[in-house]
């Protein structure tokens, strides 16, 4: 890779125009954060030449609003994440940071115990009640994501699919696998309806997004190398890797390459698709199954930040509007505030709720039948902020294939 495309060197393109500051939701919520321009490209370049800690780096949520605002293509948020990794080379992560970064490891442990998920959920409720979360540094006012009794990967072998020459590999993502397996089931149903057989690759690890934001960059790199090798295997067989999680897809498609800069990451990225991006490509080829039942639903669509960054338009809105009687209205209320595990940190909870205020107010208007969002943590945040439970757009599409 040429130096000019490495995230660290994109800082040199910064003109200090301040467009990123005008669009940063965290700056709008608190005055302690010095903002993307100063922390990212300005301080970033200093920092990599000599040791110097910018305290307010800690406030960046990696929502990537700055990257999208930048007219010069500076990878602002990635510069922040690289600096955070530098910081944690010399400082140990706190216990709750470690926990939030390793959701996958935790879920695996729990699933090894009989009735583990059930006990864990009870434990989390008791923990929240007794203030254990707070003491740990977790946001005590928030429910931790509840574990599904059976993970999607355990449930998957029981799903009966017709064999097909057209195959896709589902990259489930941690949230679909452990917390909302119904999203995975809906995915299989939709793909089957479009003549695709769904495969699972047990070798995939967490995409690494929660590791990157908490400074575990070396571990994220191990996951990246593992996942990239697997994706390239599937690419050689001509089988695309598809995921319904927009943070996973952004990681696999763009962030691996931005963070680590290996050419094979770019090659693997070409074989990764967001679920609705994939369906829209089928539609463009005339291969999309348009035999859809009318649903008569007005949907409010919260577009996740990490989808906006992918430059794929709004494929879920386009596809869902193929369903008779479905009307999709975008929420247009900015970042939801949770940004992966950001809003789960006790000291970020208030910021995350303040960022989400506009979206909560929009959702509370209740001028729709359902709220949809492709991102699991966005859905959690909306649920927490409004008491209205959103679903993944693929669940709506699956319903229309009944």
């Amino acid at each position: 890779m040429s130096d000019a495309t490495k995230a660290i060197f994109t800082g040199d393109r910064c003109l200090s125009c301040t467009a990123c500051m005008a669009n940063c939701p965290v700056m709008a919520a608190i005055k302690e954060y010095r903002g993307p321009k100063l922390v990212g490209p300005a301080h970033g370049r200093m920092h990599f030449s000599q040791e110097d800690v910018e305290e307010s780096l800690n406030y960046c949520s990696n929502c990537k609003s700055c990257d999208r605002a930048c007219p010069a293509g500076v990878a602002v948020s990635t510069l922040n994440m690289l600096q955070r990794a530098e910081y944690y080379k010399k400082h140990k992560q706190l216990r709750h940071e470690n926990m939030l970064a390793h959701g996958e490891r935790m879920a695996k442990l729990i699933r090894k115990m009989p009735f583990g998920a059930k006990f864990a959920n009870v434990g989390m409720n008791v923990g929240k009640f007794l203030g254990v979360f707070n003491a740990l540094g977790l946001a005590g006012k928030r429910n931790m994501p509840a574990y599904a009794s059976t993970s999607f990967k355990n449930l998957f072998p029981k799903i009966r699919q017709a064999p097909s020459n057209k195959k896709v590999v589902l990259f489930t993502g941690c949230y679909t696998n452990d917390n909302e397996p119904q999203v995975g089931e809906a995915f299989v149903k939709v793909m089957n309806a479009n003549g695709c057989e769904v495969l699972i690759d047990e070798g995939f690890k967490c995409c690494g997004s929660p590791l990157v934001v908490t400074g575990f960059l070396d571990e994220a790199r191990q996951n990246a190398d593992n996942n990239v090798a697997k994706i390239l295997n599937w690419k050689r067989k001509g089988i695309p890797v598809v995921t319904p999680c927009t943070s996973c897809s952004l990681m696999l498609k763009e962030e691996y390459y931005e963070l680590f800069g290996e050419q094979e990451m770019r090659e693997a990225a070409e074989n990764v698709y967001d679920a609705f991006e994939f369906l829209e490509i089928l539609q463009e080829r005339g291969e999309f199954n348009e035999n859809l039942k009318s649903l008569n639903q007005k949907l409010l669509y919260h577009v996740p930040c990490h989808l906006k960054s992918q430059a794929i338009g709004l494929p879920a809105a386009n596809i869902l509007e193929e369903i008779g009687g479905v009307k999709v209205q975008t929420a247009d209320a900015g970042c939801c505030g949770i940004s992966g595990n950001y809003g789960f940190h006790k000291d970020k909870y208030e910021i995350s709720m303040k960022v989400g205020e506009k979206l909560f107010a929009r959702v509370k208007k209740k001028d729709f039948d359902k709220v949809i969002s492709d991102c699991g943590t966005c859905r959690m945040q909306i649920h927490h902020g409004t008491d209205i439970k959103p679903c993944h757009p693929i669940e709506i599409l699956a319903e229309a294939y009944q």
Partner: protein, 404 residues
């Protein structure tokens, strides 16, 4: 993907205005942007020309000037439509193209514009007895004493008073006008209380930096209801709250109208059949994506925003459709030493030439694409900065292109 009636490339003032006009015509509109455009850096005031009556002066412009192709009547309609849609977002603009309104700059000079946010309209200053200038504690880039020194030159007979104001902005980052506006949103009381202490009357004016929130007139109305004197905002260094208010007002209109607005979507080229553009391709994602359209409006701006590029000297390019770019030949015509002097800068005149429908033309005046329209800073032949017409050309060319 469904075909758009019109795709607008670019999300600056021209692009957002074009999208608003097309949306008002109930067309299916898609906006593709890369970067948030320069409105967060802009004053929010819209200049048409630097003269008492731009409307009258437009008649004397040379035939190649974009205003001549747009026509005075259309320019007037565009200005009225602009005020109409911004007012829907509770952002009131004053003015018309046949006049100019004074605004106070951050350094205390007066600047004249045709369309001015009501909060910045300084017309009433001349009828005031006393002028207070807020000196906000901890605010960067705003020096009340310098402002007073300069403004005194315009109003030597008036009493000036510097009013120290502590809005509790300290204790975090360095505070710009944007940060102050963010902090004051929902906390307008602290500003109102501070201003009340001045005991200013209807005969007075209070000049403050532009910190009255970021959403239309909400914060201003809240403060104004408690203060008898006129409160007048100045311009400021970027990031600029009045420019951000304008951007948000236009965005609100687009969102309400169901316009599809895609960020981080850099158009790399178009597809054409003969003289008709059939769609555009974005290339900022991992794979290219095609957006079909019946009509395209090009609003990618000039050199600053990458709408025009110059990798080799004397060879400027329009990178998406490879349109011919007008350019003053000869290095001696390229620039003049006096950056803000009384002559235009050659390099600033670089841009695309069009016919009256704003279709791009070649050096013989032949139309290249019939459904492609070029607006805003993409247009050539004029130094918009020198003649103070960037905003006026942006909104009026946008209006004309979107109405065709």
């Amino acid at each position: 993907m469904k075909i758009s009636d019109v795709i607008i490339i670019g999300g600056g003032l021209a692009g957002l205005m074009a999208a608003s006009v097309a949306a008002n015509r109930r067309q299916k509109v898609t906006v593709l942007t890369y970067g948030s455009g320069s409105l967060p850096l802009a004053s929010g005031a819209i200049d048409f020309l630097n003269t008492e009556s731009p409307e009258a002066a437009i008649k004397n412009l040379p035939a190649h000037h974009p205003y001549k192709k747009i026509g005075v009547k259309n320019i007037d309609t565009a200005a009225k439509f602009f005020c109409h849609i911004t007012s829907q977002a509770n952002l009131i603009y004053n003015g018309k193209i046949s006049a100019q309104i004074p605004i106070v700059t951050a350094v205390g000079t007066l600047k004249y514009s045709s369309l001015v946010p009501e909060s910045m309209n300084a017309t009433k200053l001349k009828s005031k007895k006393k002028i207070f200038v807020a000196n906000v504690k901890g605010l960067k880039d705003f020096y009340a004493s310098m402002l007073v020194d300069n403004l005194k030159k315009y109003f030597p007979d008036k009493t000036f008073e510097i009013a120290p104001l502590d809005l509790n902005l300290m204790g975090g980052r360095d505070i710009t006008c944007l940060s102050a506006a963010q902090i004051l949103t929902g906390n307008e009381k602290i500003l109102a209380d501070g201003l009340k202490k001045l005991n200013a009357t209807e005969d007075d004016a209070i000049i403050i930096p532009p910190i009255l929130g970021l959403e239309g007139n909400i914060s201003r109305a809240e403060v104004k209801s408690q203060i008898r004197a006129d409160i007048i905002e100045t311009t400021c260094l970027p990031p600029s709250p009045p420019g951000i208010r304008l951007q948000r007002a236009l965005m609100k209109y687009l969102q309400k109208s169901g316009v599809r607005f895609h960020e981080n979507s850099k158009v790399i080229h178009g597809t054409a059949e003969g003289k008709k553009i059939t769609g555009v391709i974005i290339g900022s994602g991992i794979r290219e994506k095609f957006f079909p359209a019946k009509k395209i409006i090009l609003a990618t701006g000039g050199f600053y925003s990458g709408g025009l590029t110059m990798r080799e000297f004397d060879n400027p390019k329009e990178p998406i459709f490879d349109l011919p770019v007008f350019f003053p030949t000869g290095a001696e015509n390229w620039s003049n030493e006096n950056l803000f002097g009384d002559k235009p800068q050659g390099f600033s005149m670089t841009g695309i030439f069009t016919n009256d429908n704003l279709n791009p033309v070649d050096e013989n005046g032949k139309v290249l694409y019939e459904n492609l329209h070029v607006i805003g800073a993409n247009l050539g032949g004029v130094d918009f900065i020198h003649e103070h017409s960037a905003g006026g050309v942006a909104i009026s060319s946008a209006h004309k292109a979107a109405m065709i």
